[in-house]
């Protein structure tokens, strides 16, 4: 735990990078002026720490630097940043896809043992390494005696029926701020006819818009908020173990599965190091580790097999569509109209 | 002697001959034609064909056409004589040629000397010697002449060969009234000893 260095680094990096907001930094392995492997990621350090520790243990000579930021900034950094990172991990599949499509990712050929299932990779440039169900988190105490809505139709009915209770007590991602949030929302819009209805209902209830899962979970836990919509499952599970008031619900009509992806920026200086890490992350050892030792789900997760409820978001060029200038513009306009009433 | 085919045919048609010596290569044709012609006219005169070829096929041909024998040129007179004798012997049957002198009869064709009904057979040279004497009795024949007649030129002849044969013939004439006289330095002659 080298939080001692954090402050210095934040200052240092902020001064040099292109408006990259660094939320957290952690280093592993031997101290070097420039780390052998610089990872830029949107996954919470605490969540990913077991993997990094394990890797460092296995390769003690490699110095790792793990930088935490948000998905939008990560996208900008890869596209416009000056000092390239060696590995970029993000939950924003669409932003990662655009980076890969537009030529900002390097092609990496991995050994057969590190080949994940077809749907988890794209063109040897994007590598999914973990799955994440997107669900709702509700206040356990509030729903103690009430049946919590199991699907979105129920949710809409419930929202409508309990307007007084829920006004100002709902929260979801601010899609203008959070890339992940934007992804969840657009995927909802694509997947379901009832999305805009729900958005309007939420809007009519003065739904709060937060930037991040952590804050939303805190709010539910304290009781400030009774329902948080589109929450990353692993965060919720982890928190619900620590905090009593959290109940995680995966809607039965569909629960999107987010694929966390990694890419190697084309300007990387440490290609070999990045490849080695990817190899580790994606082979049986790494995946097993993710599954058993972290709160994340690995690609082999049983959840996929369970029922048709869990739908992975497809890692394909369709993800580019909502990033289109006009389309995005239009979506945001409508979204704002719906949620700001 | 006929010189060509037409002459031969002419002669044959007019006279009977004891034997015909026929050359295959005649100036105006093949001797075989003559042979075929006379045989087709049922003329059975014995014919000895003279040919230069010694092939079997020719021999069979000739015999088929009707020749009785053939002789290959060039030949020894003695051989010709011998063949004539053989052919005539075969042909004549009962008609035996017989030479008589003194009380002996010589049958050249069968090589028999008969005296007083007793027949003694003669060897070839003995026969020929007697034949010479019987044909010209009391004529003196020199050793040379006799040698020439009895032996072919290619034969090795010892000095006393003639004497040996004369001696043998004398023995055969013991039962007869014939004698062969040795005429000193001249030759021999046959005469009747009375």
């Amino acid at each position: 735990m080298r939080y001692i260095i954090i402050a210095l680094l934040i200052f240092f990096i902020n001064a040099t990078s292109h408006a990259l907001v660094i939320e957290d930094v952690r280093t592993y392995g031997p101290q070097k002026e420039t780390a052998d492997l610089r990872i830029l990621s949107s996954t919470d350090i605490d969540v990913f720490d077991p993997v990094l520790t394990a890797y460092s243990g296995a390769f003690p000579t490699v110095s790792l630097e793990y930088v935490l930021s948000n998905t939008s900034d990560i996208y900008q950094e890869v596209r416009h940043g000056e000092k390239p990172f060696d590995l970029v991990m993000s939950s924003a599949m669409d932003l990662q896809m655009k980076l890969a499509n537009d030529g900002f990712a390097k092609s990496v050929s991995l050994a057969e043992t590190s080949q994940g299932p077809d749907w988890s990779q794209w063109q040897n440039k994007l590598f999914g390494f973990s799955l994440e169900p997107i669900g709702m988190v509700v206040s356990k105490s509030y729903f103690h005696n009430i049946k919590a809505p199991k699907n979105r139709r129920d949710l809409i009915s419930f929202l409508r029926a309990n307007q007084d209770d829920l006004r100002g007590k709902i929260v979801t991602y601010d899609v203008t701020q959070s890339g992940a949030g934007f992804l969840f929302a657009t995927q909802d819009a694509r997947q379901s006819d009832s999305y805009w209805r729900m958005a309007e209902v939420m809007g009519s209830l003065n739904t709060g818009l937060f930037c991040c899962s952590g804050e939303m979970l805190d709010a539910v836990n304290t009781g400030e908020i009774l329902l948080a919509y589109n929450i990353i499952g692993s965060y919720a599970q982890k928190r619900s173990r620590e905090q009593d008031n959290l109940l995680v619900i995966y809607p039965q009509d569909y629960t999107h599965m987010l694929l966390r992806t990694a890419l190697v920026p084309r300007d990387t200086q440490n290609f070999e190091a990045a490849r080695d890490f990817l190899t580790f992350l994606l082979n049986d050892v790494g995946q097993n580790f993710i599954e058993k030792r972290t709160d994340m789900l690995s690609l082999q997760s049983e959840v996929l097999n369970r029922n048709r409820q869990f739908k992975p978001i497809r890692l394909d060029t369709g993800l580019l569509v909502y990033l289109d200038r006009l389309k995005k513009q239009r979506f945001l306009e409508e979204w704002k109209e719906a949620l700001f009433q | 002697m006929a010189h060509d085919l037409s002459e031969a045919k002419h002669f044959a048609s007019v006279t009977h001959f004891d034997i015909i010596l026929l050359d295959i290569m005649l100036p105006d044709g093949d001797g075989r034609d003559f042979l075929r012609t006379i045989r087709s006219k049922n003329n059975n005169t014995p014919v000895i064909v003279m040919t230069a070829r010694s092939e079997i096929s020719d021999r069979i041909d000739l015999l088929d056409i009707g020749a009785d024998d053939y002789i290959i040129k060039p030949f020894e007179f003695a051989e010709l004589e011998a063949r004539c004798r053989a052919v005539l012997r075969r042909h004549s049957g009962q008609d035996q040629l017989a030479l008589n002198y003194g009380n002996a009869t010589l049958y050249p064709l069968i090589a028999i000397l008969e005296v007083h009904g007793q027949k003694s057979s003669l060897r070839n040279r003995e026969l020929r010697l007697l034949e010479i004497f019987f044909n010209s009795p009391e004529i003196i024949f020199s050793k040379e002449q006799l040698t020439d007649r009895l032996f072919s030129i290619s034969e090795e002849v010892t000095d006393n060969a003639i004497e040996v044969y004369v001696g043998r013939v004398r023995k055969k004439l013991n039962n007869t009234n014939l004698k062969i006289e040795t005429v000193r330095s001249i030759g021999y002659r046959l005469y009747v000893d009375d």
Partner: protein, 463 residues
């Protein structure tokens, strides 16, 4: 080796055919491969183009005008599908009267643009890669104006490449199989084509040495000229042989007839002559004639044996009869010298042998002639004909005058004569003729000295 390759004239026809057919097969295979591959590329490109056209169509559907503002609601499924097939990258660009509307502004393409029914398909180089693009222009109305929208959708060709590679691999495999089959076929064809030549050659080879019939014309038309020349050659050869045969036969007549005349005239003269000198001259003449005749006979025999050794005329005849006939021929001459010929035989009259009769008789004639020539006066020459197991043997035995220096091995050499036989007329060819004749009929000849002063010649014939 190079020289061998360059000796075009001597390359076997089969190999020629093989090489030519093989080359043709290779060329055709290559051609086929290229043509099919070209067709493949066209098909694959056409497919991609169709897809792009459909994508463009679906995008055009989503163009709308609101408050005179042109906007575009990109269809998610279209983009999802376009990229899904083979993980291809997608780029697009929409311009409104030349003004960039959305997409990738720096996509390097200015036209020409097709229309919905017939988009224009081109290759665009972008970001160091080649992309296949469909571009159209579409007229819409906004603000009472006709606005010209250009839409370009470009897709990378990873999928195409993958498909092409896969099918090409299969294609190569198929082409290779085809090539192998074609070469095998070429091999078969070459062999089949050559076959008539081979059988023709075998036909001719199978013939016996005396088979001078014309060669059959049942051959492929290309070989007919060869057949004709061969037949021409055979005719000329046959004629030449016949001429040789005729010559040998004629020679006999042309030599012997004049000799005969000389001999007969000389003998007559000898009988009539009184002068010892003249008689001596005449004797000399006759001796010379005899010598000449003997030599001529032997030379002719020799020629005949050589001639027949090449092409024996086998015929079936009775061995007993043949030997007997021969002996009968010699009897008169033998008789003249008081030589007896004793004939014994254990063969049946009907027992036949199958060989060249002339050669056999030539051997026997020469042996018998020899025996009679060297026999002691008034002795018996015996001829024994016997058969046991696989052999017929003729043994001619005679008492010889002088056997000093008798050498069984030398005796067969040409012109070699026994040392004590200088006085006897002969040319020394006789026994060598017998040897050659015997060889020609696969018989063996041996001459042995027997106990006492006698010699025997043993001729063994195979049955």
């Amino acid at each position: 080796m190079i020289r061998k390759l360059l000796a075009f004239k001597t390359i076997s026809i089969r190999n020629r055919l093989l090489i030519q057919l093989g080359l043709v097969a290779v060329v055709i295979s290559l051609f086929l491969f290229l043509v099919v591959r070209l067709a493949l590329v066209q098909a694959v490109t056409a497919t991609q183009d169709r897809l792009l056209a459909a994508a463009v169509g679906s995008v055009v559907d989503k163009i709308y005008v609101v408050d005179n503002v042109v906007s575009l609601d990109l269809p998610y499924d279209t983009f999802s599908l376009l990229g899904a097939i083979g993980e291809d990258q997608i780029f697009y660009q929409v311009k409104d009267d030349g003004k960039f509307l959305t997409g990738y502004e720096d996509l390097p393409y200015e036209g020409p643009f097709g229309d919905l029914q017939e988009p224009i398909f081109t290759n665009i180089d972008y970001l160091d890669e080649t992309f296949r693009a469909a571009s159209i222009e579409n007229i819409i109305f906004a603000e009472n104006q006709a606005r010209r929208l250009t839409i370009i959708i470009a897709q990378s060709q990873n999928f195409q490449a993958t498909v092409l590679t896969k099918i090409s691999t299969n294609l190569i495999f198929v082409t290779f199989i085809f090539l192998i089959i074609a070469i095998l076929f070429a091999f078969l064809t070459a062999n089949l084509t050559i076959k008539p030549i081979g059988s023709f050659a075998d036909d001719v080879k199978m013939r016996g040495p005396s088979d001078l019939r014309k060669v059959s014309s049942e051959v492929p038309s290309e070989l007919i000229p060869l057949v004709h020349s061969l037949n021409g050659f055979i005719s000329r050869f046959r004629t030449a042989l016949r001429q040789t045969e005729t010559f040998i036969a004629e020679a006999a007549h042309h030599i012997r007839t004049p000799l005969s005349v000389v001999k007969s005239e000389s003998e007559l003269a000898l009988r009539k002559s009184k002068t010892p000198e003249n008689r001596e001259h005449l004797r000399n003449i006759i001796r010379s004639v005899d010598q000449t005749n003997r030599s001529a006979t032997q030379l002719l025999d020799h020629a005949m044996v050589l001639y027949r050794a090449e092409r024996p005329e086998k015929q079936k005849f009775s061995a007993h009869q043949a030997v007997e006939d021969l002996i009968n021929q010699f009897r008169p001459a033998a008789d003249l010298r008081d030589l007896d010929i004793a004939f014994s035989s254990n063969l049946e009259q009907t027992q036949q042998v199958h060989l060249d009769r002339t050669l056999l008789e030539t051997s026997l004639r020469n042996l018998l002639d020899n025996a009679l020539k060297y026999a002691i006066a008034e002795s018996t020459v015996s001829v024994d004909l016997s058969q046991n197991k696989k052999q017929i043997t003729v043994i001619i035995t005679n008492d010889a005058a002088n056997l000093k220096g008798f050498n069984a091995s030398q005796i067969f050499q040409k012109f070699k004569r026994g040392p004590e036989n200088k006085d006897v007329i002969g040319s020394g060819l006789g026994l060598s003729i017998v040897l050659e004749a015997a060889n020609a009929i696969n018989a063996t000849i041996k001459v042995k000295k027997l106990k006492g002063e006698s010699v025997c010649a043993i001729l063994s014939l195979p049955c």
